[in-house]
C-alpha cells in the first residue's frame, strides 16, 4: 500500500502501461508543454500534471503534443486504434468534447458495429470534467450522461486513486473505446493504493458505505458528497449504502437493485442537469425492476436545468452538495 494523489495515479498508471506495452501512445494539447519554446519541452508536462516525465522517457513518437485541434486529436486516436495502437488521448477539459463530438459519436463509438465486429478500437479518451472552480459555462460541465447514451462507448468515472489505477489499466488493456472521466476537484485528493498489477473490471460498483435504511448512488466527485451525507445520517442512527458506480456504461444494475431490495429507499446524486441524466436512467431502472421493494418515491439530486454559472454564490447553489443530499435523504426517509 502507498498513499498517492488522484493525479499521480493517472500519471503513474499511463506511464507504467507505456513501459509495459509499446503500442500505448499518448496525445493531447500541452501534454508535453513548452514545445517550440526557449524553455523547451516538458516545461510543464501537461496542465494537470498527468503526463510529467513522459516525453523524456518515451520521446515525441509516443508522446504527441498536438496543436489546438480536438477533432483531429480524437480522430487520430481512433485511427491509431484501428491501426493496432493503444492511444490515450487527453481533452484538456471535458467541455471541449463539443469540438470533437463527431469523431467520438459517429466514428470511434461505431466502428466495431458498423464493420460487422471485424475490428477493435481500443482508444482511451481522458477528460477532466466537473464544476467547483468558478470556471463558468464552458469549463465546468459534466458530460457522462450523453456519453453513456452512446452505444459502443464505455464510460468510466473513478472516484479514488485506487480506482483510477485499476480502471485505467483496464481501459488501456481492454479492446473497446473508453471515455475516462476524471473530476478536476479530485486531482489533489490522496488515497491508499494497493501494490501490484491489479485491474478493476468495468460494470462492478464499489460499496463505500454499508447500511440498511437508504441507498445512495453516485459517481466521481459526487461519491464523497454522498459519503458526507451518509456520515451525517449515521449520527442519527440511519444506515446508508453508498454505491459508487465506477462505470456508467456498463452499469452494475445488480448492485443497485440488490441494495434497494434491502433499503426500499433510493437517492441518486448526479452533477449533470436532471433531464435525460444518469439519475433519471437509474431511477427508471429501479422503478421498473425493484418497484415492489420501494417504500418511498425515488429522489434525485442533480444540477438545475441551466448552464454552469460563474459567480461563487451561483455555482455553489448550482452544484449538488452534501447538504442537498442529506435533505433529499431525509425526505425519502420521512415519506409516508
Amino acid at each position: 500500500m502507498a498513499k498517492m494523489m488522484y493525479r499521480d495515479a493517472v500519471r503513474s498508471t499511463i506511464f507504467e502501461e507505456m513501459e509495459r506495452d509499446d503500442r500505448v501512445v499518448v496525445l493531447g494539447e500541452d501534454i508535453v508543454g513548452g514545445m517550440g519554446t526557449a524553455g523547451g519541452p516538458e516545461a510543464i508536462g501537461g496542465i494537470w500534471s498527468t503526463s510529467t516525465g513522459f516525453y523524456d522517457r518515451f520521446g515525441p513518437d509516443r508522446v504527441i503534443d498536438t496543436p489546438i485541434s480536438e477533432s483531429a486529436i480524437v480522430g487520430a486516436a481512433g485511427g491509431l486504434a484501428l491501426a493496432g495502437k493503444r492511444p490515450v488521448a487527453e481533452l484538456m477539459f471535458a467541455d471541449f468534447i463539443g469540438v470533437s463530438l463527431d469523431q467520438i459519436w459517429n466514428q470511434i463509438a461505431k466502428f466495431r458495429y458498423m464493420f460487422g465486429g471485424k475490428t477493435l478500437c481500443p482508444a482511451v479518451i481522458r477528460m477532466p470534467y466537473g464544476g467547483g472552480f468558478n470556471a463558468a459555462a464552458q469549463h465546468s460541465q459534466s458530460v457522462h450522461h450523453f456519453l453513456t447514451a452512446m452505444p459502443g462507448l464505455k464510460v468510466v468515472m473513478p472516484s479514488t486513486p485506487e480506482d483510477v489505477r485499476g480502471l485505467l489499466r483496464e481501459a488501456i488493456r481492454g479492446d473497446d473505446p473508453v471515455m475516462f472521466l476524471e473530476h478536476k476537484a479530485l486531482y489533489g485528493v490522496s488515497g491508499e493504493v494497493p501494490d501490484g498489477d491489479y485491474t478493476i473490471p468495468f460494470g462492478h460498483a464499489r460499496l463505500s458505505r454499508a447500511g440498511e435504511d437508504l441507498t445512495l448512488v453516485a459517481t466521481g466527485l459526487m461519491v464523497s458528497r454522498c459519503e458526507a451525507a451518509a456520515d451525517a445520517l449515521a449520527k442519527d442512527g440511519i444506515g446508508c449504502d453508498v454505491i459508487d458506480l465506477r462505470t456508467t456504461s456498463p452499469l452494475d444494475e445488480e448492485a443497485i437493485l440488490d441494495s434497494v431490495e434491502v433499503t426500499g429507499r433510493l437517492v441518486v446524486v448526479d452533477e449533470a442537469p436532471q433531464r435525460c441524466s444518469l439519475a433519471t436512467d437509474i431511477s427508471a431502472l429501479v422503478a421498473q425492476k425493484a418497484f415492489a421493494s420501494l417504500k418511498a418515491p425515488i429522489e434525485m439530486v442533480n444540477a438545475p436545468h441551466t448552464p454552469v454559472p460563474f459567480a461563487k454564490e451561483l455555482e455553489l447553489a448550482y452544484l449538488p452538495s452534501a447538504e442537498k443530499v442529506e435533505a433529499a435523504a431525509r425526505r425519502v426517509l420521512g415519506w409516508r
Binding site: G33, S71, A136, E313
Partner: protein, 323 residues
Amino acid sequence: MQLSREQMLQAYRRMKIIREFEERLHIDIATGAIAGFTHLYCGQEAVAVGVCEHLDTDDKIVSTHRGHGHCLAKGCDVEGMMKEIWGSREGLCKGKGGSMHIADVDQGMLGANGIVGAGAPIAVGAALAAKLDGKGKVAITFSGDGACNQGTTFEAMNLAVVTKAPCIFVFENNHYSEHTGFSYAVGTQRDIASRAEAFGMRVWRADGTDFFAVYETMRELLDYVRAGNGPAAVEFDTERFFGHFEGDPQRYRGQGELEKIRAERDCLQKFRAKVASAKLLDEKELDEIDREVLDQIEAAVVAARNAERPTADDVLADVYVTY
C-alpha cells in the same frame, strides 16, 4: 498621419484603460479576491484599440478567452466589466459569465469565448447578416496563433470566401498558445497570414505593438472589405506580458524574455515615443490621462467590491426567453 489630436488622445486612453484594468486584475487575482480562470490582455492593447477605433456599434466583433481588451476597445463599460469579473449581480452579464464570457451585444460585442476557435464561424454569420442588411458593416473575429490551428477557423475562412462575407480575420500572434510555441504548432513554419491567403483572401501584416501601424493597416483593410470585396485577414505580431492564465509559472519563457518584451515591445511606450518625437502630443496630456485612468480603475474596483452579490434564485434566470 491622418489621426486628429482627439483621436490620438482617445486611442491612448483606451489602451491605457486596458493596461491598467489588467494590471489591477493581476494584483486582485493574486489575493484570491477574484475566482475563476482569467487571461490578461496586457501587451496586446494596440491591436484591440487599433482595430476597434475604426468601428461603430453596428460593426460586430467576436472575441476569445483573452477578451478583456477587445471588450474595452469596443466600448463595454469599465465598471460593468469589473463587476462581472468580480462575479457581481450588477456585472455586464449578471455574474453568470465572468471573465471568459463578457459580452455586450448592444455595443456590437458578441462575446468573449471559452472555446478556442469558436469565434470565427460566429463572426462569419454576423458578417453574412451585415451583408444582408447592406449598410457596409463588417464583423471581425480575433484569433490567436493557437486558435488558427482549429478546424473551425479553417472552415470559417473558406465559408467567408465562398460567400463573400464582409468578415475580417484578425490573427494576434503572441507566439504562444498556452505553453506551446508558435513555431511548433503552426506547421507551415511561416506566418498565419499566408494560410489565410491560401484560402483565397487578401491579407495584411503589421507590427501589433505599434498602434499607428495597426490603425493604418486596418484603415486600408476596412476600406477594402466595406467596398464589398469579401473577407480579408490580418496578422499582428504582438506580445503577451503575463502568463497564459493568472497563476501560470511560465517556465516556457526564455531567460530575460519578459523583461525584454516589456522594455522593447510595449505598445504604450512606443506610442509615447512616437508622438513625442513627431511632436504630435504633449507629454503632460498623456500623464494627465494616466492619472485619470488609474482613478477610473480604482473607482471600478471599489464599485465591484461593494456591488450586489447574486443569490441562489438567480441561477434559474435567463436560460430561455420563454419556457
